[in-house]
């Protein structure tokens, strides 16, 4: 038995509401599918509304002479058997609505990624005729003006604001009208009052640098960070990787990096500890189903965090392939916003800089970030003797609102376990 709703149908192409002239059924009445249940009057037609189900009328919610909007509830009906097939499309719609109501969080996340990444300055010196005219008429040196348009382009409004302020800039302290991240912007973009001495170089904070600054401030001011580190013995993994890397490169055309193995292990552990794969959303915590891992890719003074989508479903080879593709796109400046969207957790390859320990700043609004440090050969006491082992530190930063030490510790222990079991004998990269 299930309770179903019967809503006001749309009767006529442009009709938005209907008036119930009379009910043809009472609570307790048994009706068949398509039996008339009410007479409804609209601007265009008068019609008998049929039941969409076979069952027993439970409650008449709308009264006679009530005018109700299309799609509003008319009555409840008790239906025999659960999950009637008739309503499948409606259910589908509901699912879609839920999806889209879910999206503000994810879209704000992707938006944030976008601002962090695609804010380049390629259009900084593209002046429109209007901007050129204003600059010439008002003797403005456009090199000193900051653009708020895409690609850092100076818009007519940017120039008009400067003219209105009467403060024709001679340094890079111009105001911008970015409305996003007001708070973090005030923490990063306001002139600090720091004095400069002769010989000092002033570098204007613009574009990607500015976006990174804003995001970092947002992450560190909003998220209460806590830290944790484990040491992992990856001797077996190193042996495994070294044994196949040449053949792999020859066969696949790209390198099999250690990082791919770490990403694989993290993805697998996240599946088991979804608490880490989540987002703080004020009055709730959203655990993500998809495991989409951001990886950090540096390019000169820019930092990109493209996403390996559904990393938990990919082989080590698949992950290596994604990393290669994303890194090459980043180097060529070809990353699209799509490449950056939807990340649920970040893995940072700090080891590539030779770092052995670091405290990562969480990629807002995620709940944690894992830093993979350098693999270092160390003497380790094992089975009663010292031996040379390949050791690596994994450093985890966690959002203490979302996570506590216990679950984070368990997660790290699991990652460690997976990595230490990756050996030639039991692991395939395919």
């Amino acid at each position: 038995m299930g309770l179903e709703k019967i809503n006001m149908p749309q009767l006529g192409e442009s009709v938005t509401e209907g008036t119930i002239s009379s009910w043809l059924v009472q609570p307790g009445d048994q009706v068949n599918k398509y039996d008339p249940i009410a007479e409804v009057m609209t601007d265009k037609v008068n019609a008998e509304v049929p039941s969409s189900f076979t069952g027993t009328i439970k409650e008449l919610v709308a009264q006679e002479d009530d005018t109700i909007e299309v799609g509003e509830l008319m009555c409840y009906i008790e239906v025999e058997g659960a999950g009637s097939t008739e309503e499948a499309p409606v259910e589908k719609e509901v699912v879609e609505v839920e999806k889209s109501s879910d999206s503000p969080a994810s879209s704000s996340q992707s938006k944030q990624n976008k601002t962090a990444i695609s804010d380049d300055t390629t259009s900084k010196t593209r002046y429109s005729p209007a901007v050129m005219t204003l600059a010439q008429d008002n003797n403005i040196d456009l090199n000193q003006v900051e653009g708020s348009g895409r690609g850092g382009r100076i818009t007519r409004k940017d120039v008009e604001k400067i003219i209105q302020s009467g403060d024709i800039p001679t340094s890079a302290s111009s105001e911008s009208d970015q409305s996003e991240n007001k708070r973090s912007e005030s923490a990063t973009a306001q002139p600090s009052g720091v004095q400069t001495a002769e010989g000092d170089i002033e570098i204007p904070v613009t574009g990607v640098r500015k976006a990174i600054a804003q995001n970092m401030v947002k992450s560190t001011t909003e998220i209460p960070h806590a830290w944790m580190m484990v040491e992992v013995d990856v001797t077996g993994l190193v042996e495994l990787r070294n044994s196949v890397k040449n053949q792999f490169k020859e066969k696949e055309g790209y390198s099999l990096t250690f990082f791919s193995f770490f990403v694989k292990a993290v993805a697998q552990a996240l599946k088991e500890y979804p608490q880490l794969n989540s987002t703080w959303a004020g009055d709730k915590i959203i655990q993500r189903k998809a495991v989409n891992l951001n990886i950090a890719v540096a390019k000169e003074d820019e930092l990109f965090v493209p996403v390996i989508k559904d990393a938990d479903e990919k082989s080590i080879k698949g992950i290596a392939k994604d990393i290669t593709a994303l890194a090459s796109k980043a180097r060529q400046g070809k990353l699209t916003s799509k490449d950056m969207e939807g990340g649920t957790f970040t893995v940072n390859n700090t080891g590539s800089f030779g770092s052995v320990q670091s405290m990562g700043v969480i990629n807002h609004p995620q709940a944690a970030i894992l830093q993979v440090e350098s693999i270092v050969k160390k003497p380790v006491f094992q089975d009663g003797m010292f031996g040379a082992r390949d050791m690596v530190n994994l450093c985890l930063s966690l959002d203490h609102r979302v996570l506590d030490g216990l679950v984070a510790g368990n997660f790290l222990a699991r990652v460690k376990e997976i990595l230490e079991k990756m050996t030639k004998d039991n692991t395939s990269v395919y």
Partner: protein, 330 residues
Amino acid sequence: MAENRHKTLGLSDDEVLDMFRTMLLARKIDERMWLLNRAGKIPFVISCQGQEAAQVGASFALDREKDYALPYYRDMGVVLAFGMTAKDLMLSGFAKAEDPNSGGRQMPGHFGQKKNRIVTGSSPVTTQVPHAVGIALAGKMENKDFVSLVTFGEGSSNQGDFHEGANFAGVHKLPVIFMVENNKYAISVPVSKQLACEKVSDRAIGYGMPGHTVDGNDPLAVYEVVKEAADRGRNGEGPTLVEAVSYRLTPHSSDDDDRTYRERGEVDEAKKKDSIVTFAQYLREQNILTEEKEKALNEELDQLVNEATDYAENAAYAEAESALHYVYEE
């Protein structure tokens, strides 16, 4: 026992039963569509009710393996006779991707299915008339012996395309059957305000073709004149205008309220002549439709309509972006 009219026309008992079955199926699909509309499940219905006899009688008089049909929006009886299925029509009602008429692009009633030579139609009325002439012209040029049947309402017989098309076919002696389904109303405007002549068929003489007015509630009468028209066409004697007079039993569409312009009594009177009732009566009198057969037929068609409804309701819509396809050849 009453006179056996269908034998005289060369129709077997099975054939007339099949005619009735097609008429009844059209009626049942149409009725279901109204219920679905009133339940808020499909946005629009436009009906065949009251015109099934003319539609099915005419279609059965043709060679449905090679002749062409250019139906108008009420012709559910024609398209069913030409091979469209209940499922096809329900898919169109629900605007689903599998709808063979348009893949969910057009409103219901805008029929078209090339494999059954049902030529695609639009909403501006009577545009299909010159198309029927063009198809007949092509057939003549290629020495084929098919005919084209084009149907439309009496209101449409005022459009230029009717007159231009009829004249063209008359001049070039093309095998076209122009069938007016005179249901007495063009939405709310009665036939008295549509025609200055007494009958639509009076117009035939102006285009050098014979014109017949028949009882559109009698499928056998319609069959007879359309059969004769088809024979004429195939013999190279040119087009024929047929006017089948019946009555529109429903409002113009699901968006119309006919109580604002016609008396209930008039509709009730027309229902007495409803072909679904009268033709069933004839078949009973001929002992073709026994009580047992009638019950079985109703059950079979109800099940067909139920299955078609369920299938169509649960079928997928076309992908949104597929709207971009087939503007031109791809």
